[in-house]
Subunit: 251 residues, 2 copies
DNA sequence: CGACTTTTTGAGTCTAGTCAAAACATGTGG
DNA sequence: CCACATGTTTTGACTAGACTCAAAAAGTCG
């Protein structure tokens, strides 16, 4: 059978994307800034610096001192934690408009995860001190940030639950659904996950191994629930995947 | 062999513990209020209501609307998530002075976990609206809350990592260490975990089963690392447990 | 077209889960 | 204070899901 070639279309980092206009747009869309007037956004923007990173480059390492708060302007970033063994655990994948880094309000602290560019990216960063100043100037922002962090806590706890109680098959199904919800794009019959990610990554997200992920994906493929290839996946039958993620076996 | 009888000494909920004095002490010690002057604490205290709950009683359920923020004044509270199957996942155990409930700043939201009294407790609660008012009146508090939540996110991610990459043995070892760090009390040679918790609870914390936990605990017991009985555990050899939690096998 | 990476497949093993039953601890009421 | 009822923990035998190691197959890129 002729597999379709990779249908991914990556957003290339074009030098213009970190233009002033684009920066203002990204910053102004952040959940914790979007309620602010344009002039405030503009002033906040001045506190950010941008830089480009290419695929697989590390933005910071677990254990580094947390001196900045980061913002994905363009591209995708993954957050991983390393274990003593060579296995890595993938905590989250972020797209344009999401923040990352450690929220160091007062005092110093340390990054608890490593941030890796999953694609070529444009990253905005603001120093902890500047961010504190912004929080002081715009008290509402602090609340919004609080909401955003609370949200992530809830998501993380959901993952704890899944890892505790679900089979690998269920975990893979829900990881795919989560990614599709976040990064999915309609493509013909199915939903393409707009992100180059390998079996390796999927294994790191679900606490499994590449081999097992491969086997499960093959099963999903045979059952017509997904189509996949080297570093891409399209979900063909969401409802069935959802059922499987919740109930276990497909009946 | 004659096992020591349960060495747990529970703090009984004495009607006096929720006295004004005690309430002020608990509220004033909260990480996000402790920098405030006494009169502010006193005013904040007026917004809290207290009530007692007995062991195993539910304080709220997963899915309930989040209308209050809660505070453990006395006793221990566990947070669990239910899965479709009868298995429950234990997310955290809280002691006096810790907060729980969903931080609903603006808008309504829903509890994502169930809160159960692990011992008889005295609980303080404040309505979301009141809490918002407090946040508005004392902007510093919002930042402190933000730090507290960030901290929990980090802890939750640590658990994700453990569940993803460690064996049951390692997870049990680190769950014990975590509990000891939080609720431990020196007792002769060892550290007693001051909390009545069953193999069931430990299984729910580590994504395992009572039988497996029992087997692992027996092994730990034979190796002289812990002593345990019905609903109690004393850690006898921290360093060895720590080594096991990190590296795997004990050499 | 190669060289390289990623994915798939296979065989063997082991950790941890399931089911079932016995042993033990705890609190109660006689 | 003992015997019983109840809930908890332990033990045993069996099973299965998922991991490991190893090697082949398929994509991708220069």
């Amino acid at each position: 059978m002729v597999r379709p070639k990779s249908p991914l279309r990556l957003d290339w980092v074009d030098p213009t994307v970190c233009s002033l206009d684009y920066r203002l747009k990204i910053i102004g869309r952040l959940p914790f800034f979007k309620h602010l007037p344009a002039d405030a956004i503009s002033k906040i923007n001045d506190r950010f610096h941008d830089h480009e990173v290419s695929t697989d480059e590390r933005i910071y390492f677990e254990g580094d001192e947390a001196e900045y708060l980061y913002l994905v302007a363009m591209g995708k970033v993954k957050l991983v934690r390393n274990t003593d063994s060579r296995r890595e655990v993938l905590l989250d994948i972020l797209r344009g408009g999401e923040y990352f880094g450690t929220l160091t309000v007062f005092g110093r602290s340390i990054h608890t995860e490593t941030a890796i560019a999953q694609t070529d990216c444009c990253i905005l960063q603001i120093s902890s001190e500047s961010f504190e100043t912004v929080l002081t100037e715009y008290p509402d922002v602090t609340r919004k940030v609080l909401e955003a962090v609370s949200q992530r806590l809830t998501e993380s706890q959901e993952i704890v639950k899944q890892l505790s109680a679900y089979t690998v098959e269920q975990r893979i199904a829900s990881a795919l659904l989560r990614l599709a919800g976040k990064l999915g794009e309609a493509r013909g019959q199915g939903v393409l996950i707009q992100l180059p990610f390998s079996r390796q990554d999927l294994a790191a997200m679900t606490g499994s191994t590449t081999e097992t992920v491969s086997r499960v994906m093959s099963r999903f493929g045979e059952a017509g629930m997904v189509k996949s290839g080297r570093k891409w996946v399209t979900i063909m039958d969401m409802p069935r995947l959802e059922k499987l993620a919740e109930k276990g076996a497909v009946n």
